[in-house]
């Protein structure tokens, strides 16, 4: 398989053509708008947080926990890599608590920086469909595309925490 085919696996093109979670929910706790400066591609991500998933951690301490990503929706314009990545990201983090979501973000970041050398198989396992984006790591110019949604997620969660739900004004117009 050529590097190009490795990057554009069928799974990725499928997600890009039929993205999951695309279309913004009207209510949310945190929102972020991110732009890829190279191409002007943009994404808006909205997260709704739910109460800590009490008792979900096997045999864990039931009293404390992180809020859970109850819903993640997004909308945006972008290449197949950015669209597929956002779609896979939503699938991955919905229902996870914020600490797990952040860890997945870190793992995905590591995958993107791996320059095609691969990452720890256990880590890779946890990334679900998103591991198919490994081929992007051979193309430094495209890593930003794959990370765009993840950057927005991180920022949206931070905004939810500070209560400053929406990003600064975005210029509209011709």
């Amino acid at each position: 398989m050529s590097s190009l085919d490795a990057m554009y696996q069928e799974l990725i093109l499928d997600h890009a053509r039929h993205p999951h979670g695309k279309g913004l929910a009207p209510t949310f706790d945190g929102e972020s708008f991110q732009v890829n400066p190279t191409c002007g591609d943009r994404i808006r991500v909205r997260v709704s947080l739910g109460d800590p998933a009490v008792g979900r951690a096997a045999g864990g301490d039931l009293a404390v926990g992180w809020p859970v990503v109850a819903d993640l929706t997004w909308d945006g314009q972008g290449c197949s890599i950015s669209q597929a990545s956002a779609s896979m990201m939503g699938d991955l983090v919905r229902g996870k608590d914020l600490s797990e979501a952040a860890a997945l973000g870190e793992a995905f970041g590591e995958l993107m920086r791996s320059r095609g050398r691969g990452i720890d198989p256990d880590l890779a396992d946890r990334l679900g469909d998103a591991v198919a984006l490994e081929g992007v790591s051979r193309y430094p110019m495209r890593i930003k595309c794959a990370l765009l949604g993840w950057m927005a997620l991180k920022d949206a969660v931070a905004r939810a925490a500070t209560g400053d739900a929406s990003p600064a004004r975005i210029p509209e117009g011709i």
Binding site: S3, L4, Y8, C39, G40, Q77, C79, S80, C145, I174
Partner: protein
């Protein structure tokens, strides 16, 4: 002017051998097809050689110091200024070195801002832009000739108005009467769009500006590399262009200003090398062009740029233009055959340059660019630093092939063939 003949195959082969990077191979082992000269052009060996010779034998600070090297460096720097000025129909005193087109535009807006704040005494007053006056730009501009004017308008309280771009990618010159009124002080516009390739009828804009005494500022970043440009004959007041798009190095460009205007304009950037007498409270400034060249200049790059214009002048810009126009025509007719490919800009080679941007139905430019890169074809994808013109043409971004004098018909054909496969690869239109 009689049309110059295009380059022969032999001449083209000789030219290509002057550009070392054209010997590179793509990922697939085939020779690199470089179709991104609109972003930055490749450099012939004479440019690298001139810069190396200067660094090895003559490097010194210019306009200061009295030793032999300093004298040689100063002479080489001023010779370079004269060579670049001559290339665009200007006199040396009208050519201010800057870091590029963007640097030149900011140099100019900083100077106009200073004049608007009362600097420049009596002479500078003619440049003051007052609240409620108008600065006119166009929808076709590169951000480099748009954002500095937005900022100047915000600083001065001036209002911004613009000429629109029509569906054919050309400037709507029929907007001129509507955007020009008695309060219009300045029109900044591009000679050729880096997205649509459309060449502006400079004479029409200059004539409209003159009727009301407004200044004209021409972005010649795309025209200077591909057309014979005579700024004096065009009649614009100011112009800017970059070395790195015309076979020269990065980090240098120029602001052209008519002598009489530069004479009266106060400096926007100040510091060393642009002053006469400095006391603790104030300073007097040198005459142009040095008044506008604060700080140590990009001397080695100036030397390289002079070699680049020497190379272009030797070929003759008429022939460069004829060669590129023939390739552009071939490119446009090839693209016209491809389903799902829309050219953003004039469909005919006349009145346009070889920067050809396309919208591919169902494929994002980044994906298209990646596919082409895997075939060893370098194009630019994205908004090319010109978001408004994309918006005007109803797209977000595009895939652009931009020709240089070293491109061949075979390269154009390889690009067209590869582009024809892109939509299939990504399953568009299935």
């Amino acid at each position: 002017m009689t049309a110059s003949p295009a380059l022969s195959d032999q001449e083209l082969a000789a030219i290509r051998s002057d550009f070392p990077v054209l010997g590179r191979r793509g990922e697939d082992g085939r020779p690199l097809v470089y179709l991104d000269s609109g972003a930055t052009s490749q450099r012939p060996r004479v440019v690298m050689d001139a810069m190396r010779d200067f660094a090895e034998n003559h490097n010194a600070a210019v306009h200061r110091g009295a030793h032999t090297l300093a004298g040689e460096a100063t002479e080489a720097f001023e010779d370079a200024r004269a060579a670049v000025a001559r290339f665009v129909g200007a006199s040396p005193g009208e050519l201010v070195f800057a870091s590029g087109t963007t640097g030149a535009m900011n140099l100019l807006t900083a100077a106009l801002g200073a004049a608007s704040e009362g600097r420049g005494q009596g002479l500078g007053r003619r440049f003051a832009i007052l609240p409620g006056e108008r600065i006119v730009v166009t929808q076709a501009e590169h951000h480099s000739n748009l954002v500095p004017w937005q900022e100047l308008a915000a600083r001065t309280g001036a209002e911004l108005a613009w000429l629109r771009v029509g569906a054919d990618g050309r400037l709507r010159l029929d907007d001129l009467p509507a955007v020009i009124n008695s309060r219009t002080r300045l029109l900044a516009f591009t000679h050729a769009s880096n997205v649509t390739g459309a060449i502006t009828d400079v004479g029409a804009v200059v004539a409209a500006a003159r009727q009301i005494g407004a200044l004209t500022v021409l972005d010649a970043a795309q025209s200077a590399p591909h057309l014979a440009v005579d700024l004096a004959a065009l009649g614009v007041d100011f112009a800017a262009f970059s070395a790195h798009k015309m076979l020269g190095p990065n980090g240098i460009g120029a602001l052209y200003g008519r002598a009489e205007l530069l004479e009266a304009l106060p400096p926007g950037f100040t510091g060393g090398s642009m002053v006469e007498i400095v006391t603790m409270r104030e300073a007097t400034f040198l005459p142009p062009p040095n008044r506008f060249e604060a700080g140590t200049q990009a001397v080695t790059e100036a030397i390289g740029w002079a070699a680049a214009v020497g190379y272009l002048a030797h070929l003759g810009m008429g022939r460069v233009e004829a060669h590129e126009r023939a390739l552009t025509a071939r490119l446009l007719s090839g693209l016209a055959e491809l389903p799902g490919v829309r050219v953003l800009g004039p469909a005919e080679a006349a009145g346009r340059l070889g920067a050809v941007s396309v919208d591919l139905d169902g494929v994002h430019p980044h994906d298209a660019g990646q596919y082409l890169d895997a075939q060893g074809i370098a194009v630019r994808v994205g908004h090319h630093c010109a978001q408004p013109v994309h918006r005007a043409l109803g797209v977000h971004s595009s895939t652009r092939a931009s020709l240089g004098l070293y491109n061949t018909a075979a390269e154009v054909d390889r690009f067209v063939a590869a582009l024809g496969q892109v939509r299939d690869y990504f399953g568009a239109g299935l």
